[in-house]
Amino acid sequence: MIDAISTLLIVSGLGFYLAGSIGLLRLPDLYSRLHALTKADNLGLGLLIAGLALHAQELLIALKLVLIWLAVLAASAASAHLIAQQARCRETQS
């Protein structure tokens, strides 16, 4: 039962990862690429981590996995804002 749930979570996480990468490759400008990549990848990582945490032997390891997800969420939200701000700065200058 747990195996089936974690397989489902991992496979759907991989789907989000691939969707984010295809969006990064196909979408026309920087802002829409940012939108595709940041949201889809973080959701994909969240689902992947949920799937892997079901297999963790100890509670501590599962908590560490969740901590990694939170760190990635904070990091990519900050860097998405920085990249967008910098691109906008350049646009208004030129």
Binding site: V11, L14, R33, A71, A75, S76, S79, A80, R90
Partner: protein, 87 residues
Amino acid sequence: MSELLSVSALCLMLSLFLGLLRVLRGPGAGDRMLATQLIGTAGVGVLLVMSLSLNQPALIDVALILALLAALATAAFTGRQRESSDD
């Protein structure tokens, strides 16, 4: 289970490869930095999957460090760009 983990590591590497194609195409510096962000999240995913499939718990710590350093790279990049546009 271990087949699923190997296939998912391969899928994550495929998505890293698509990010590298974006680095190749550009056109702006910001687009290339986006690929760094992708390498951050997908790299963490690869490390976590590998830690379970190779039974190496230390790789989880490596993933934590990578998650923190990926953000630093972007912050340093935007800081530099801002400095050079001030001159």
